[in-house]
Symmetry: C2
Subunit: 259 residues, 2 copies
């Protein structure tokens, strides 16, 4: 598997993956922002939502992945896309909407990150964030358990540390409230009906499973995936229609900077 | 306290209470439904959302409370409002959208209720449900704990049984999937920033606390509220701006009947 993000695999579950962006954007209380920045824009599906909702705005997408950026430019020629890193970027002028969907979970040290993000937002502007908060779900606990229990364990010791659990809701609130007129924080736990355990694995292959597969050779990968599937099975019983329900908790943060 | 619902108190937190209706309605995939029924319409705030989204539809609100219905008729003269019970109602013709926001948690036996609700939905129509799922939250566990520990305990023995925990997500999915083209089930855990413990008590006085206050005389009520507040305090620390965050989980169900 290439180190770069695979846009085609990511887009395989596009409807489901785009819903959190839509749900986040639906809460943004802006009428006509001048500059909208989509941080970690991926293949541009979230950027497209911003452009549709705010047709008069300048829309800029940032991402670290050339593959994702190429896909985004094809999808949305009227927007600007630039290679940059959510951990270190600065904008030429502050954004009226800084939109960060499913990216900041990969950036460490949120106690420093979130106040710095607010410095990139204009007065009266909005910081809108969504992050998967699923490390305690069986789908992710089983990745770590299978990693520790097999001949591949020495190669995967670091993988489980690639992401750490998110800070508490109260921590985010306290980081943002002093500079904001309003801070809203909520979780949504989606349940995606999928076609059995193999579909769950396909889903996470596009994101959370990558650090566990990248270090392995083909034979180890097959063994690891088999062990992972066996650990998933008891947690995802078949429903009456043969599907399984993948629970997927996501954390949403919407902060309106003081005017 | 009157046994009837108090529309003024319920509307005190109107913005926060209306957001779940808005979030539910945002997911309804209908273009132009003919008949929209708002089951348990309360004072008409959810009914108003239906009328705004679907201006060409016939909109009907049902509720058991005369006080709520009077308030709803004043708010929305163009809709029809009728006194009826979510547990037993039948419609003259099936609804294209049957919308039930924050009402079905009061109706027992969901294994019978949900299939019956689907019989009131037209082919291709949508059943859209939102219910508080907060009985395990400190805000509600403390109601029961305070009820059992005081001179009022004999009067409140029945109160904790007024609502039972909701069935699992998988149970709802299985009840609906056989007759539906698509079933979506999700939780959202809102966090409402409120002005301290007294504001939490004001919030729940409009709904979940009512069965605990109704059986008590004035002196018992004061004692019970004091005991309740003391049990809440450790779970709701003050944030940096002096507010507390009331976590409020809600269950959403959206089922599209086969066409």
């Amino acid at each position: 598997m290439a180190k770069d993000w695979n846009a085609a695999l990511y887009l395989k579950f596009e409807d489901e993956r785009t819903r959190p962006s839509r749900d986040l954007l639906a809460q943004v209380p802006l009428e006509a922002p001048g500059l909208c920045v989509d941080l970690g824009c991926g293949p541009g599906n979230s950027t497209e939502l911003l452009a549709e909702r705010f047709p008069a705005a300048a829309v800029v997408g940032l991402d670290t992945s050339p593959d994702m950026l190429a896909s985004a430019r094809t999808r949305l020629p009227q927007a600007q896309f630039r290679q940059d890193d959510a951990a270190t970027f600065t904008l030429e002028r502050p954004a009226d909407l800084l939109f960060a969907n499913a990216v900041l979970q990969w950036v460490p040290d949120h106690a420093s990150l979130f106040p710095r993000l607010l410095t990139q937002v204009a007065p009266g502007g909005v910081l809108a964030v969504q992050m998967p908060d699923n490390l305690d779900e069986p789908s992710h606990a089983a990745m770590r358990a299978a990693a520790l229990d097999g001949p591949w364990s020495h190669k995967l010791a670091a993988a489980a540390a690639a992401r750490t659990a998110l800070p508490s809701v109260g921590t985010y609130y306290d980081l943002l409230a002093p500079d904001c007129a309003r801070v809203e924080v909520w979780h949504t736990i989606y349940r995606h009906p999928l076609e059995g355990i193999p579909a769950i694995i396909e889903w996470v292959k596009g994101t959370g499973l990558r650090p566990f597969l990248d270090p392995l050779d083909a034979q180890e990968r097959a063994g690891y995936l088999e062990a992972y599937a066996a650990r998933l099975a008891p947690h995802y019983p078949r429903q009456v229609d043969g599907k399984v329900l993948l629970a997927f908790p996501r954390l949403f943060i919407l902060a309106r900077k003081k005017g």
